[in-house]
């Protein structure tokens, strides 16, 4: 059952969000909720089936899903609550979250602290402006990775990959192992942008050509990609005339960079660094909006998942500390309620901390007159805290009494104070 208020709400169940949830629980947050738009926890790690993860965190060479599973198991063991298949629509600077999902319906949730862990998304064809026709068959490498590794679809038979980053090279190997032909990897820079080891084990091992200082000049195909035209570029990325080549293929995969995903952050009033594309954060990963933290690839795109987890851990820890201070503020005031023979009391609530610096004066009127000596009693959870004698009590005359400083400790423990006037 989803509550209406949580200590810490985390947006996104990837490595950053999972680490944040675990750390928040370990730091003492009572209610921690992760909201995730996918059907399961783990984020993009679930489709990164290759190994090479966790050497820093676990001193083990793990596939992405295994790395995720360790964190999922820890989060669930700590009773982190999860809301899957649910999209966060809006976040206010007051930390109210609006979310919706087919199974969860429309939800309004208040958070004492929020951790933004939405990760990043891939650059698309439109963002790098590849000219040519617009047939189907142009996909980002991550989309193809999801289809091939999770959903079980092959997006094509003959591929060209644009971009020599690790995702591009790893997909080139993956598609080859699954029986596809990868015609080549084009890289606009004069050097490899991914790791050398991936060049060896993903491209060299399968005789996939790498063309440095090359890019796609245009996409050719009606309905479906039929070929691409590659071109060599100079150091300023200007195409070199005469170097064009037609490469027949049915699919072009783009591995051309990642962008932190911050639409929600902006709605919450979080300021974004134009260089990183992610929020400005302090050393505790708090954004400019108090109580809103951010961690992982939503802040800047990391090289290693281990660092995403570490950032998530710190943000979750900070968020829990913030939430606990909020909780204390919320419970700092104690209501003062009239007993059976009291009509009203002013003030109606007191700040427990006021007793640290002096007595607190209370004023009240009775309902019925009592023409004999009375006690004016203040009780907290049925225990007498203080009382004062009066010779009589009349509705027309205000009674004044003070809660003494020495009652400080007792008042910290009560849920409410009750004042009544009774016969002595």
């Amino acid at each position: 059952m989803i509550k209406s208020k949580y200590d810490v709400v985390i947006i996104g169940a990837g490595p950053g969000g999972l680490a944040a949830a675990i750390a928040a629980k370990q730091q003492g947050a009572q209610d921690v909720l992760i909201i995730e738009r996918d059907l399961e926890l783990g984020g993009i790690l679930q489709q990164c089936i290759h190994n090479g993860f966790g050497l820093e965190t676990f001193k083990e060479d793990l596939p992405g899903p295994s790395y995720a599973q360790h964190f999922i198991n820890d989060a669930l063991a700590l009773n982190v609550e999860t809301l899957l298949d649910t999209m966060v629509l809006d976040i206010t600077p007051q930390r109210r979250i609006y979310a919706s999902g087919a199974r969860s319906g429309f939800l309004e949730i208040d958070a004492r602290a929020i951790v933004l862990a939405m990760g990043c998304r891939e650059r698309t064809r439109a963002q790098i402006r590849i000219p040519g026709m617009r047939p189907s068959g142009v996909f980002t490498a991550g989309t193809a990775q999801r289809w091939v590794n999770v959903e079980g679809y092959m997006p094509g038979k003959r591929y060209v990959v644009l971009g020599s980053g690790d995702i591009g090279m790893i997909m080139a190997r993956r598609l080859t192992l699954e029986g596809a032909q990868v015609e080549g990897v084009l890289e606009v820079m004069p050097f490899l942008t991914g790791l050398t080891r991936n060049y060896v084990q993903c491209l060299m091992d399968f005789d996939i050509p790498l063309h440095l200082s090359h890019t796609v000049k245009r996409v050719i195909g009606r309905g479906r990609v039929e070929s691409i035209e590659s071109v060599q570029v100079d150091e300023k990325w200007n195409p070199i005339a005469g170097s064009e080549k037609i490469i027949p293929c049915d699919t072009l995969l783009l591995s051309v960079g990642l962008i932190p995903e911050n639409e929600l952050s902006k709605k919450a009033g979080v300021l974004i660094d134009p260089i990183t594309g992610g929020p400005f954060v302090d050393d505790r990963f708090e954004t400019n909006v108090p109580g809103i933290f951010a961690a992982g690839n939503v802040v800047h795109v990391y090289d290693l998942v281990d660092w995403v987890s570490e950032a998530g851990r710190q943000a979750g820890d900070s968020a829990a500390r913030f939430a606990l201070i909020e909780r204390r503020k919320e419970t700092r005031h104690v209501p003062v309620k009239p007993g059976p023979n009291v009509r009203y009391i002013v003030p109606q609530t007191i700040d427990r901390e006021s007793l640290a610096t002096g007595n607190v004066r209370m004023q009240l009127r009775v309902r019925q007159p009592i023409e004999s000596p009375v006690w004016v009693e203040i009780r907290g959870n049925d225990n007498l805290i203080t009382r004062k004698g009066e010779l009589y009590a009349r509705p027309g005359e205000i009674i004044t009494l003070e809660i003494p400083m020495k009652a400080y400790d007792e008042v910290q423990l009560v849920d409410e104070l009750v004042i009544d006037v009774v016969k002595r």
Binding site: L39, E40, G42, Q46, I49, H50, N51, G52, L55, D61, L62, P63, G64, P65, S66, A68, Q69, N149, V150, E151, G152, R174, L177, E178, L195, T196, R197, Y199, V200, Q201, M204, D205
Partner: protein
């Protein structure tokens, strides 16, 4: 007949360049890299192996595929045969991370391990 060649080490993300001197199948000398790199060079010259991460089919799972990986590096030349064998597997969900999906596959001494839990679908 001694011959010199350059290879790139894949042991860690550094990707050092190694200069290997060999006489037929025997490695005479390795220059560059670290101790693990030298072990890699030795193996790469005599018995090249790679970690393989792929998927196998799942019946009744939340997804149609289960990600799996080799328990240790697998002989490089036999990777196509490994892929063909794994394509024949079709296992039942639920499956737990770390379960052995195929033992001593193709008599290689290598096991195939589940990379994640796979719950049964509805």
């Amino acid at each position: 007949m001694e011959e010199k060649m350059k290879i790139l080490c894949i042991t860690c993300p550094k990707g050092c360049s190694l200069e290997v001197t060999r006489d037929g199948q025997t490695v005479v000398e390795v220059k560059g890299g670290c101790k693990r790199g030298h072990e890699y060079a030795q193996r790469e010259m005599t018995d090249p192996r790679r970690m393989v991460a792929t998927t196998v089919k799942v019946k009744n799972g939340v997804h149609p595929l289960l990600p799996v990986y080799t328990s240790e590096p697998f002989p490089k030349a036999r990777i196509p045969a490994l892929m063909a064998t794994l394509r024949e597997i079709n296992i039942d969900a639920p499956i737990e991370m770390g379960s052995i999906i195929a033992e001593n596959i193709l008599d290689s001494g290598v096991n195939i391990i589940a990379s994640r839990n796979m719950n049964a679908g509805v």
